[in-house]
């Protein structure tokens, strides 16, 4: 299942105006920075485009895909070229910032954008499920994050208390 075919569809959607600026987050983005593990979904974060008025809705996006034969769903994800793609709104200021500061990369020749590792770490902390905590721990253990930049993100998004709780629980002093 070649991910570049999926990414190309996303870029075509952006060119057609049904998908706004977007970036990859979630596990696939994390696995570009840390040891990869199994994943089923491709999480695409985007601001919905307004449709026929001022309401923000994902409807044109799904209609566009349906018209091109992408009509299969798995839970809340739509199957695009073999990948279950979840279109996720920018529900928090942290996600909005993550999209603005996402980095441009090429995946097998297809240009795309991914969240920075420091934003992925902060999003993991904010989301707070056990698998997010495990991922954050992995980022820290691999030691390649810019901890100063991470600290600034935590401060901006009022995550210092959550970070201190995480440290007390998972990073006991040596």
């Amino acid at each position: 299942m070649a991910i570049e075919a999926t990414l190309k569809v996303l870029n075509d959607m952006e060119a057609a105006g049904v998908l706004g600026e977007h970036a990859i987050g979630g596990a696939v983005a994390a696995f570009l920075y840390i040891e990869p593990g199994a994943t089923f979904d491709l999480d695409v974060f985007t601001a919905w485009k307004p449709a026929h008025g001022s309401l923000l809705t994902p409807q044109p996006l799904y209609e566009y895909l349906m018209n091109r034969g992408y009509g299969d769903y798995e839970m809340e994800a739509i199957i695009i070229e073999g990948w279950a793609v979840q279109f996720l709104p920018l529900g928090t200021p942290l996600l909005e910032e993550a999209l603005i500061q996402a980095v441009d990369i090429q995946i097998k020749g297809v240009p795309t954008r991914v969240f920075t590792r420091e934003h992925l770490m902060a999003i993991s902390l904010q989301t707070g499920r056990p698998k997010d905590m495990a991922r954050l721990l992995q980022f820290i253990e691999e030691g390649s994050a810019d901890m100063e930049q991470f600290a600034e993100i935590l401060q901006r998004h009022m995550l210092l208390r959550a970070w201190n709780a995480f440290k007390a629980r998972y990073l006991p002093p040596l």
Binding site: P36, A38, F40, E141, E142
Partner: protein, 59 residues
């Protein structure tokens, strides 16, 4: 298990993580695709497992 054996295992795990984390994006994407395929295969296999029997009523 002896402490030095645990330390060896931890060091090997860290080395593997570092090696994987330092792969090129292209190689990582290959790996992600393989793991994605593996995950889907395992889900298919899981669905073919016999369903757990219902809990017996206690009287």
């Amino acid at each position: 298990m002896k402490a030095h054996r645990l330390e060896e295992m931890f060091a090997a795990k860290q080395a593997r993580r570092k090696r994987l984390a330092n792969l090129s994006i292209g190689r990582k994407v290959d790996l992600i695709e393989q793991l994605h395929q593996l995950g889907r295969t395992m889900i298919g296999a899981r669905e073919s497992l016999p369903k757990p029997a219902g809990r017996r009523e206690s009287h």
